[in-house]
Structure formats: C-alpha cells, structure tokens
C-alpha cells in the first residue's frame, strides 16, 4: 500500500506541482489549501504523513500541528518553512513535528524525510499492536473489554 500523504499549503501552484512530483514517486497524495480544510480531512481519513506549511492565512501551521497531534497522534508531520519562520518550525518540532524543510525544498530530501517519517509511524503502530497482543495473551478476557 502506498504511503498516504496530506500536503497542506496555501500556494495552489506549489501544491499542484509538488503533489504531481510525489505521485510520480508512488505516494498517495491529498492536498489542502488551508488549515481548516486540512483538519476536516484528517478527522475523516488516516494519513501517514502530513506536509504542513508553517505560515498560512487563517489557522497557522503551529495551530494545525497542535490539532493534528490531538486528533491523530501517530500521524507524522513535516513542516515546510520560509526563511523567516525557522524558529516557528523548531517550535513545531518541540510540539511533536517529525522534521522541517526550508522552501524552496529539494524534493529528494523531502522524499527521504517522508520515508523516515513513515518508518517511525510504522514502528510506533507495530509497538502498539505488540503491546495489545501481549495484553490479550496475559488477560484473555481483555479482548471483550471496550477501549
């Protein structure tokens, strides 16, 4: 199954070109032009990785990141930043973003970061599955309990 990526940026032409490049690299891409729409999509669908612009009109990148971590804590977020917002990107990493890249970004570098972010998500999910299985073995009744 292809890695599911949500690309969030208010620059439509940037989103169009980058999503096409990532599709060529076998990612399943959904796009969003603002934070509100992105959060709506995240509520309805499980993405592996979100690529998120830091400086957007309306709901800014840090606010969107905060909400993503509340809604889908295992979803990894890579922040995209212009020169003046590196501090914001670092703040994002303190709040749980996986990494950041400066615009204009090298697509191969982005590709590598997406793969690493997906690998981390996959590893977390595997640990959770392992823990749940261990829990079921030690207490078979637990499978009957509601979460």
């Amino acid at each position: 199954m292809n890695t599911r990526v949500l690309l969030v940026d208010d620059e439509e032409q940037f989103v169009d070109a980058l999503s096409e490049r990532l599709t060529i690299r076998d990612y399943e891409i959904t796009t969003s032009l603002n934070g509100k729409d992105a959060l709506e999509k995240i509520r309805q669908y499980n993405y592996d990785v979100v690529i998120l612009d830091v400086a957007m009109p309306g709901t800014d990148g840090i606010e969107v990141l905060r909400e993503i971590k509340k809604l889908k804590p295992l979803t990894e977020v890579i922040m995209l930043t212009g020169h003046g917002t590196v501090e914001t990107a670092i703040e994002g990493m303190k709040r749980g973003a996986f990494d950041f890249l400066m615009k204009p970004c090298d697509t191969e570098a982005l590709d590598t970061k997406i793969k690493k972010a997906f690998a981390r998500k996959d590893e977390h999910e595997e640990r959770i599955r392992t823990a749940m299985v261990s829990g079921s073995i030690s207490s078979p009744r637990s499978v009957l309990e509601d979460d």
Binding site: E11, A17, E20, P57, G82
Partner: protein
C-alpha cells in the same frame, strides 16, 4: 541623539525590516513554485526517456505557472523598489497615490494572514504633498497595521483619501473592533513621533469606527 529622533529612527528601521522580511518571504514562495515546476519538468523528461508519453498540455500548464510566478515576482520587486527609493530624498513633492499603492501591495501578506481585506478608495486625481515620503509611508503603515487588528466582523478595512484645503485626510474605515479590549495602545510612541515629524494629526474615532490621519500639504510650513 535626541529622544524624538531616536523614536522616529527606530520606527523607520523596524518598518523597513518588516517590509523587506515580508518581501523575502513572498519571493521564497515564488521560488518554491518555480523550483517544483522545474523539478516536475525533469521528472517528465526522465519518464519520456523511459518511453512514457507526455501530453503537450501538461507542459503548457507548467510553462504558464512559471510565467505567472515570474510576473508575480516582478510586481513584488517593483513595490520593493518603490519602498527603497522612498528614502532617496528626505523631503520631496509626491503624489499620495505613490505612497498608498505600494503600501497596500506590500501589506497584502499581513492582511491575508489576519483574514482581512484592505479596500483602497483613493482620490481619482493626484493629491500632491511636500513631505518625507519614507516616514509618511511608515506612519500610514502603522495605522494600517493597527486598523487590520481593529477590523470588524466583516474583516474589511476601507482606505479612503480626501483632499482638503490644508492637505489631505486619510481614513481607515469599517473598524468595528476599535472598542475591543485586546488592542494595543494606539497611537503610541512611534505614531506620535512620526506625527510630530510630519506635522500630521491622528484621531481615533470609536463612534465612527475609523482612524483619521490629517497630513499637511507642505511639511516645511509646519
């Protein structure tokens, strides 16, 4: 340096820094789009090498996208150039439109981030002033910056000019949020210092939901 001169200098430097930082951010966005389209061309060329068919329309779309961004960058640089040249002469005779039009353009990103639309309604004919172009732009920026925070629920700031016998009035209207508690003090040190320098008067009218800046026709007669 006298305290007044220090305040005005500080304000001017901060204004210049803020505008050029915003311009650099815009140019970065333009470069990002051109970069992705160039990368996409490379990807398509590689695919063509492997025998994939490339639709000409796809190439035309990319070409148009790049040209659009070049035009956008050109406009950004023109406005930056106008800002840069506003310091050529400390006092000069100018048309107010030559201050307000680049200012509104340069303020677009700040307005957009706050979800506010700035609607200029400027005098049709020239409004000639003898003034300090840079510091006038600085003062009007500070008013516009505050006005964007004080915009009403419709998130619109109307920018209106009105010629008078003594000079000109610049109105920042539709400020339904002027009575709000969370607004910073206005006018503050920078605004007052600039008004002193320019011979301008600044009035905040909560009842009319507007800010009015009265600017004299000739700074030397102040």
């Amino acid at each position: 340096m006298s305290a007044k001169l220090e305040i005005v200098t500080e304000s001017g430097l901060q204004f210049f820094g803020k505008m050029t930082a915003s311009i650099s951010h815009e140019i970065k966005n333009v470069l990002a789009i051109i970069n992705e389209n160039a990368g996409l061309l490379e990807d398509l060329a590689l695919m063509a090498d492997r025998g994939a068919a490339i639709e000409p329309q796809r190439l035309k779309n990319m070409s148009r996208a790049v040209m659009k961004q070049v035009s956008r960058a050109d406009t950004i640089m023109k406005n930056m150039n106008r800002l840069a040249h506003s310091v050529d002469e400390s006092i000069n005779t100018i048309d107010l439109k030559d201050i307000l039009e680049p200012l509104v353009a340069l303020s677009y990103r700040f307005a957009s981030t706050r979800g506010v639309a700035v609607q200029p309604k400027l005098n049709e004919g020239p409004v000639t002033l003898r003034t300090s172009p840079f510091f006038l732009m600085n003062l009007l920026w500070l008013c516009l910056d505050f006005a964007m925070d004080a915009a009403g629920e419709d998130k619109i700031v109307e920018l209106v000019t009105q010629k008078t016998e003594a000079g000109v009035r610049v109105f920042f209207k539709s400020l339904g949020g002027l009575a709000g508690d969370s607004l910073k003090p206005f006018p503050a040190e920078h605004e007052k210092g600039l008004c002193d320098l320019l011979g301008a008067e600044l009035e905040v009218s909560t009842g009319n939901q507007e800010i009015i800046v009265r600017i004299v026709e000739d700074i030397d007669r102040n």
